[in-house]
């Protein structure tokens, strides 16, 4: 879906949320265009599965619409709040998945073009997702928020309801674990060839 952004495109999320709560339907469209891709991507990274990520993204956005009339301006950023809700919804689903082995989890879908030169890149991104899936969920969330979504440590701390120091620890351990998993697949991913 292509969503055209109107004159409200430059307004902050919080202001748009107020407009939505006041009955402005265009604000909902603008917020969806702005926030849904981030929410969906975050859910996809945490769950490693597309259809569940889709459900989580829709659910998280629904919670945003419902809280809009009671939103207290200046207390939290809309994006930070959404990342927290998304992560909590993902954790719920991952808990329900207990007993499911890693092999049972579907590979992320390859939605890129099937050009030969891009296969290796795609394989590496998928390998990253595989490696992320093997991390404990809190490490995974911290790494994704820091290194893929680009949030600052204080923002992650707020989103995950932990201290900034704990964020540093989680991201550092997460990256080390990722490096170990990826190193074991170094040959498969063609890094030896790259080095030549």
């Amino acid at each position: 879906m292509h969503i055209s952004l109107g004159p409200e495109a430059d307004l902050p999320d919080e202001t748009l949320l107020q407009h939505y709560a006041a009955g402005d339907g265009r604000a909902a469209t603008t917020l969806t265009a702005r926030l849904l891709p981030r929410v969906y991507r975050h859910a996809r990274r945490l769950l490693g599965e597309d259809s569940e990520a889709e459900d989580v993204a829709q659910d998280a956005m629904m919670r945003l619409w419902r809280i809009a009339p009671d939103w207290r301006c200046g207390e939290a950023q809309v994006t930070t709040w959404l990342y927290r809700v998304t992560a909590n919804l993902c954790v719920d689903r991952l808990r329900r998945r207990r007993g499911v082995t890693l092999d049972d989890i579907a590979e992320p879908l390859d939605d890129g073009p099937s050009v030969l030169e891009q296969i290796q890149d795609r394989t590496r991104i998928d390998a990253l997702q595989d490696a992320l899936d093997q991390l404990p969920v809190r490490q995974r969330a911290a790494v994704v928020l820091r290194h893929i979504e680009g949030l600052s440590n204080p923002q992650i701390a707020e989103a995950m309801d932990i201290s900034p120091r704990a964020v540093e620890s989680l991201t550092a351990r997460g990256k080390r674990a990722l490096a170990e998993v990826l190193h074991s697949r170094r040959a498969d991913l063609g890094y030896e060839n790259d080095a030549e």
């Binding site: 879906m1 969503i3 939505y20 709560a21 006041a22 009955g23 339907g25 909902a28 469209t29 917020l31 969806t32 265009a33 849904l36 891709p37 969906y40 991507r41 996809r44 990274r45 597309d50 259809s51 889709e54 993204a57 829709q58 956005m61 629904m62 619409w65 419902r66 809009a68 009339p69 939605d111 890149d121 590496r124 991104i125 390998a127 990253l128 997702q129 790494v143 290194h147 893929i148 979504e149 680009g150 990256k175 080390r176 990722l178 490096a179 170990e180 990826l182 190193h183 170094r186 890094y191």
Partner: protein, 121 residues
């Protein structure tokens, strides 16, 4: 563990950067469903209450039409008692000339009751 066995942190950074730059393709229909959800649960704009005039605000402060009716009835009763007080009751006019007993009331009758009591005998 040899130097070659160590994980390569640069590779992780490169992969994370590529993941960051990867454009997200939303599943077909997801954005439409989210917007439809938003419109379904959107609060309805509140109707702006009409501004009431001074008379209506006073009426509301008094308690509405029933209270106003009671107020008018009580006022009429008080007025009637004021101009035609029962025998033995000092009226407001008598008090103004310091009448404090029925005797004085009798003397002050012409001043206080417009002579109606004299006519009545």
């Amino acid at each position: 563990m040899t130097q070659n066995d160590k994980p390569d942190p640069v590779s992780v950074d490169v992969l994370l950067a590529r993941a960051r730059d990867t454009e997200v393709q939303l599943p077909p229909g997801l954005a439409q469903r989210v917007v439809a959800d938003a419109l379904n649960v959107q609060p309805q704009p509140r109707a702006t209450p009409r501004r009431r005039g001074g008379g209506q605000r006073l009426l509301a402060a008094l308690g509405g039409w029933p209270a106003l009716g009671g107020l008018v009835a009580a006022s009429c009763t008080g007025f009637w008692i004021g101009i035609s007080p029962p025998e033995g009751v000092i009226d407001a006019g008598a008090l103004l000339v310091n009448a404090s007993s029925p005797t004085i009331y009798d003397e002050a009758a012409e001043l206080t009751a417009f002579g109606w009591d004299v006519e009545e005998g």
